[in-house]
Symmetry: C2
Subunit: 162 residues, 2 copies
Amino acid sequence: MILKSQVEWALHCCAVLAGLPEGRYLSTKALAEFHGLPKEYLSKALQSLSQAKLVESTLGPSGGYRLARPASEVSFLDVVEAVEGKERSFVCSNIRANNPCRPEGFCDTGPCAIARIMWEADAAWRAKLRGVSLAALIQTLEQEVPPALWRSSGEWVKRRAG
Amino acid sequence: MILKSQVEWALHCCAVLAGLPEGRYLSTKALAEFHGLPKEYLSKALQSLSQAKLVESTLGPSGGYRLARPASEVSFLDVVEAVEGKERSFVCSNIRANNPCRPEGFCDTGPCAIARIMWEADAAWRAKLRGVSLAALIQTLEQEVPPALWRSSGEWVKRRAG
DNA sequence: GAGAGACTACTCGGATACAGTCTGTCCGAGTAAATCCGG
DNA sequence: CCGGATTTACTCGGACAGACTGTATCCGAGTAGTCTCTC
């Protein structure tokens, strides 16, 4: 049970996009250079975000991506689910139905107790992620990233965003 | 991010082992038949449990597995981690270090904010699993499984356990 | 000088190979039970 | 009949292939900006 590296990339890219000037776009190429990632593969992560309607894209020169909603209305869960999918991490194949003691035609009432417990844990994980927005992340970063680096990064992005 | 089917199998097997008479063992073969699973592959899940010291094994006729601790002292988390490993689901490759604006020899103080948030969610997931023991699971099952099926299953297991 | 049209260069998006892990299977080492033999 | 050595049959444990998802890469469709030509 390990999340794909796309999740990490998508989150970092969203953090950068959240600091973008209003109405501007940032290209995959710029995002890839900023994070030192393979441009071609990173584009797949951004495509996932685009399909989930988290970001908007534009073509042509000075094209790229920008957030489709305010940063305060995009949660970590949105980003994670855009990349990993909304399916629960635990899948119940209902193996209790194979019990040899079970009478023919026996029908279960509800989901298996084991699955219920696993799903509760999954729900707790998602709830935690739902509670953190990109805006909150930016706020945290602004506090702990050295001001000089923060400013120069902002300049870098602004320069590449148009 | 999807858990392997071994996790489901291991949990169901632990549930059965928890209802085993004191001092008896149940073989992989019996567990596989009870759940309708491939014996050879199921054995790998049980090996994981054995390596994690959750179960004890014995060889020879009437050999097999039994819980190494009381059911009340084995949590879901123990079983899940035995199969999936104790590593966190989110790995931070510290891509912020590739930021082109970063001065040479710059050294980060703590873990990346994004990683911290993801790890908090992971901790919440694990905490939820740590809070449920096999004993609690058995109690739940005993309440919701039809008494006739519960009894016959217990008989079946007892018959195969030695 | 201004406007319209064509061109260019850059973008995203999906289709295409490679790798690693999960799934499934096999056989050998080791042991507890059952058997057999001698006392 | 009882005790012990031998045989046996059954178990676990690790070593060995196949399938699927994750990783990485490529090229084509489409558009915004730019340039040029005409008025």
